[in-house]
Symmetry: C2
Subunit: 340 residues, 2 copies
């Protein structure tokens, strides 16, 4: 197993160190190559993602990423030039984001019930396509546009993936989230594709919900969701909310998948670089550790993935949530649990 690791910025390196500690316990033979992409490299060399590095990354089985982003870098530079560039160059069309309320974890919701959903967020289109521009900048007549691009090809492969996942889950329920009543063109495409693909999955029940109403249900009845399929931006927004109601982004893992396996998939915590708490050893590495579990699942190492998840579940059920211990302590506990 050849893994590329991009620790990145802020708390990225801290949580990745613990994730690798845990990985080392289950796959001691994994070969790790580190790449110093991120804010520091950009400051030092102006480089974001050199072609040569992109080439090397392609030559791995998967990528593990910590977080990118730093207040010293103008907004968008690292996101568009590094993180999103990786997602787009490596065709990470399925952005997989499970949200589960683990026993013992406190939700900010008073009466959360059981929450166990997967958000399948489209990863290579929509408003993230980077189409748009500024006209007459810095004049009273300035116009800024952003274009959401949705293709039949791009929507269909993600919707198919979501249906396959739904069909494999006990509840077999899929919710399309969009804003079809306003974004009528993109909404029409998404709705039609879901309708067509649903014909091949008569066992999966299908619901539709507007994105605004979905945020309401996320806080009043999150247990209703099983698999959600949605576009890139709605998925971005809803997965932060889903992470919040399941105990916070310190626990939320994600996989950026090329399900054709032509390119290595990339796994990362949903949280960002959190520069405000970086270097203090207080970031929760659990999201990074769970991202390793998703990575192992993707590479067929299901048993190791289950062991990591079970260890996380045990730790969350038994930890003192008021003083969970620092980054290292949590990492040490998880490493010990995994190897026991």
């Amino acid at each position: 197993m050849r893994l590329a690791v991009i620790p990145g910025d802020g708390i990225g390196p801290e949580v990745i160190a613990e994730a690798l500690k845990v990985l080392g316990e289950v796959i001691p033979t994994a070969e790790i190559t580190r790449y110093d992409l991120g804010a520091a490299r950009w400051h030092a060399t102006g480089e974001l993602l050199p072609e040569s590095v992109l080439g090397e990354l392609r030559d791995h089985d998967a990528i593990l990423l910590g977080a990118v982003g730093d207040p010293s870098v103008p907004s968008g530079i690292l996101e568009r030039g590094l993180l999103l560039r990786l997602r787009f160059e490596l065709d990470h069309h399925v952005n997989l984001r499970p949200a589960r309320l683990y026993p013992g974890v406190k939700s900010p919701i008073a009466d959360p019930g059981e929450i166990d959903m997967i958000v399948v967020r489209e990863g290579t289109e929509g408003l993230y396509a980077g189409n748009g521009g500024l006209l007459r900048k810095d004049t009273p007549h300035e116009i800024a546009t952003e274009v959401s691009v949705n293709t039949s090809f791009g929507v269909e492969r993600v919707v198919r993936d979501a249906f396959t996942r739904a069909a494999a889950r006990p509840r077999k329920h899929l919710t399309l989230v969009h804003k079809t009543n306003v974004l009528t063109h993109a909404g029409s495409l998404w709705s039609r594709v879901v309708e067509e693909v649903s014909l091949q999955h008569p066992d999966v029940t299908v619901a539709y919900q507007h994105v605004d109403a979905t945020t309401i249900h996320m806080v009043t009845d999150p247990g209703r969701f099983d698999v959600i399929v949605t576009d890139n931006l709605f998925g971005d927004i809803l997965t932060d909310l889903a992470a919040a109601v399941t105990g916070g982004i310190g626990l939320a893992a994600s996989g950026n998948l090329d399900i054709t396996r032509r390119n290595p998939s990339m796994f990362e915590p949903v949280h960002g670089s959190a520069p405000d708490i970086a270097g203090q050893g207080i970031a929760d590495p659990t999201a990074a550790v769970l991202s390793v579990a998703l990575l192992l699942d993707h590479l067929g190492e299901h048993e190791s993935a289950r062991r990591i998840e079970a260890s996380v579940a045990f730790d969350l059920a038994t930890r003192d949530h008021n003083s969970p211990g620092g980054t290292f302590a949590i990492g040490d506990r998880l490493a010990a649990l995994v190897s026991s």
Copy 2:
């Protein structure tokens, strides 16, 4: 005071009847003209918003709208052809949506604290502009686009309004919500406008937050928000979430304002037509009643507006939330309170 009333679809007519009952107590001389726009008229005549009706509407001091939308009408027809058409034709650029947790009201959040925010949502641009289309429909090469259009003119007038509102509030705090790290063009325009206008309001503290992170804070620390200014789509999403955490969309009012007063402003509950509960007399008319208070404020009838708000606050503090009474009972209580 000449008011145009569009009861609309679903629970719209039910909640509007109660809102008018309350209005009648404070402004008995208000002249009401009803317009039967909505699903039924569309089915009967194919009409959504005839030019002649639009002309008549312009001739009023304000518009009160219940809700539009019905499952029998394809998604988008009534929204784009009636509701959004009204907002755009009447230049309702400031979509004002207060979210306040009234004493006695239960939030789905375990520990909500005090919540009292105003969302100033841009109302005439962004992804709501209706720019976009379908290419190669129903082929494997279909492309659907949606264009977010943001102008210096459009953003600035809304940001100015938000700063003015923030400056008039005790906390004097304004949060710009956007996704500047991905939507770099629109994000750049919004950020620059906020920065420029902030120079004229040194008393207002300014924060920026990504829309995804904002949903987290809405459920973990909603009390941090005072005035939020944001674009049309982000505002749509966040105000449903803000309504949810402050007790539900049964209580959330909104104003679609043309702050130049060239056109009548329009007031409506944030909730939709809720066809599933229509006709049962169980819809809470409070959001519609609070929309009347916003309407009266806009028309300078501040004392009447305060009386309605105080009546709602009293009713919410003293009602049995497990059995609040039906639509009529709540309307009757509020009408009695207002006139007492």
